[in-house]
Symmetry: C2
Subunit: 409 residues, 2 copies
Amino acid sequence: MALIVKKFGGSSVATPEKIMGVARRVITDKKPEDKVVIVVSAMGDTTDELIGMAEKITDNTYGREMDMLLSSGEQITIALVAMAFEKLGAPAISFTGPQAGIKTNDVFNKAKIRNIDPQRVLSALDLGKIVVVAGFQGITPEGDITTLGRGGSDATAVALAGALRADSCEIFTDVDGIYSADPRIVPRARKMKEITYNEMLEMARLGAGVMQPRSVEIGKNYNVPIHVRSTFSQEPGSVIREEYTMEEQEFIIRGVTHDANVAKIAVLGVPDQPGIAYKIFSALAEANIDVDMIVQSIRNTEQNINDIVFTINKPDLLRARQLIDQVGQEMNVLGVVIEDKVAKVSVVGAGMLGNPGIAATMFGALAEAGVNIEVISTSEISISCLIPEGQVKEAVNAIHRRFFPENAQ
Amino acid sequence: MALIVKKFGGSSVATPEKIMGVARRVITDKKPEDKVVIVVSAMGDTTDELIGMAEKITDNTYGREMDMLLSSGEQITIALVAMAFEKLGAPAISFTGPQAGIKTNDVFNKAKIRNIDPQRVLSALDLGKIVVVAGFQGITPEGDITTLGRGGSDATAVALAGALRADSCEIFTDVDGIYSADPRIVPRARKMKEITYNEMLEMARLGAGVMQPRSVEIGKNYNVPIHVRSTFSQEPGSVIREEYTMEEQEFIIRGVTHDANVAKIAVLGVPDQPGIAYKIFSALAEANIDVDMIVQSIRNTEQNINDIVFTINKPDLLRARQLIDQVGQEMNVLGVVIEDKVAKVSVVGAGMLGNPGIAATMFGALAEAGVNIEVISTSEISISCLIPEGQVKEAVNAIHRRFFPENAQ
């Protein structure tokens, strides 16, 4: 017997016909003794339609009432999915997030799950029912309905799997797993059978879009293996877990990611005095601007001045530039240079620590492809290089070829 | 200060624009110190659309999952109505039926309200908020969502008014009150300022369609005055309450109703023996067929045989005829005569008991109009006559003219 949580997103349940398809698939895959929990999102465009109605009434589409409105979307789906199971002869019962015991804080629109009381879900499973739970929603201690924000349905599925001590949590998406690079850029990208939570978190942070870091973190905390797989095929996908199941890993690097949503700011000729970096970065922090790669280099030892280079997200560029120009004037710097035609390419792999040659291999690949490296930064399990935006495709392919030779299995 | 519950049906909140209109009206009508609770139904065709989706999945559109599905409709409305109030500067909060403390039994699709725990509603009112409650829904002791069936939103409003000890409950509809007859048939029908619960119940039973008997009964039990009025005008409507506020009543009769949804069955030549009537009517009761007017008349004292005539609802005619033919054969009756081109006209008024001339006046009006009376039945507060269906209009007008003279104010 296995207890499995399966999550299907809005496009998988967009119409009554697709809902029947999901129900058929779940029944086909289910062994008679399996206990199965289905987590679903709102159907297709339902959420957008509800937002559209709210926008006809008010421009304040935030807060408690918005969650009251939007949570109706998943409630529609769970009822229809449960009906589909019953129609196919499989006993089923639907639960809203509150009924499934998903307790959250009271930060409406992006609530965090505090704990789950899975008693009703467990009782229904014991009665042999397939349990259908509304993703993306929960309830505050005061009894108000909340929604969980971006990646909320995945979070529901993984957290529920944790609370139920499920054997696995399957996330059904329109891609069939986690790839060693974006297949749209690297046609020969490989599907990874396994990847660790930390690697997945790092890949998500560095630009891979398959899974929101949030649910990966929940999976890590509760040690729930997350199986990312395709709605449209029976093939196994990729499993995110704490450790690989095989001792020897095929590839040291798990993935090559890229992120074009970055901009570079160089503050030139900064006086080499204590507190200067603090001034720059505290101004940005106060404005809620995330700073990523930071490099300080010595420009001139005689004059005791440095250059400070860092990257931010492109949408923050205008605001950041205003702040830095102001701080720069106060500090009498030589100049501020903005570069928004840049991108970040990264390699991620937990095995990197014991393999000193990884960085050299990466730089070598970029050099051979004629790609200039503007900034380098490293973490325990990743190395990132800032490069010209126009060279992303050749850079990612060059790096990928080195770490994932095409004749390797 | 007054505590007022106001209920708006689906057509009053069919679009975001109409929702804004309802919110504007409520705010305009509200005195600063008033406490206001709004009960709303699902928007326009939402319920039909949800049923349509369910029908694409299953033909079993009953039970728990159907209530899970349909209750999302009112949840959408309450959120949008609360947003509309906020947009107009009036603090508001929405509650689902369960959140408003509407506890029901577990008869899904047509649950009955068992009790109401109005604590959250009262707290929100004390904070100066307009409270918007989803009609038509509640929660079972097990925490399952139920819907209340036909007339459910009116029932929510009146029951909530009772639990909150509200000063009044206003039901906003597309008619502007309770009329002395159907204005489509009697153009000069009068709007009643007041009518008692019992009169309203009797009128509903005898064919008046404005209010479901259900919510009138709840109003009677909790002694909540129900004000039936128009969504589209500021005019006062009709108040349903225990007693008239004036001692002397203008009109003894409160209304003339008609019901064409009836059929007559005459069982001729029934042996005059104990238990015969029981046989006929227990067979109908077992088949869940409601019997209304019953008249037994002596056909022939020498042969000791009677005729038994009664009326049922037209949709039950086929099934009733089969049963009666069978029972008739067993009892060896002379024959069974079916008549479905009949209608019932009735006068209703609590003052009837002390006024023996009412029946005579009614019969006289019918005679003068050339309408033949087939069956007569009476209750404490009504007199009904079965007449040919084609003469309903002239019959109702003739009776109405007698009891509501056109020069009377």
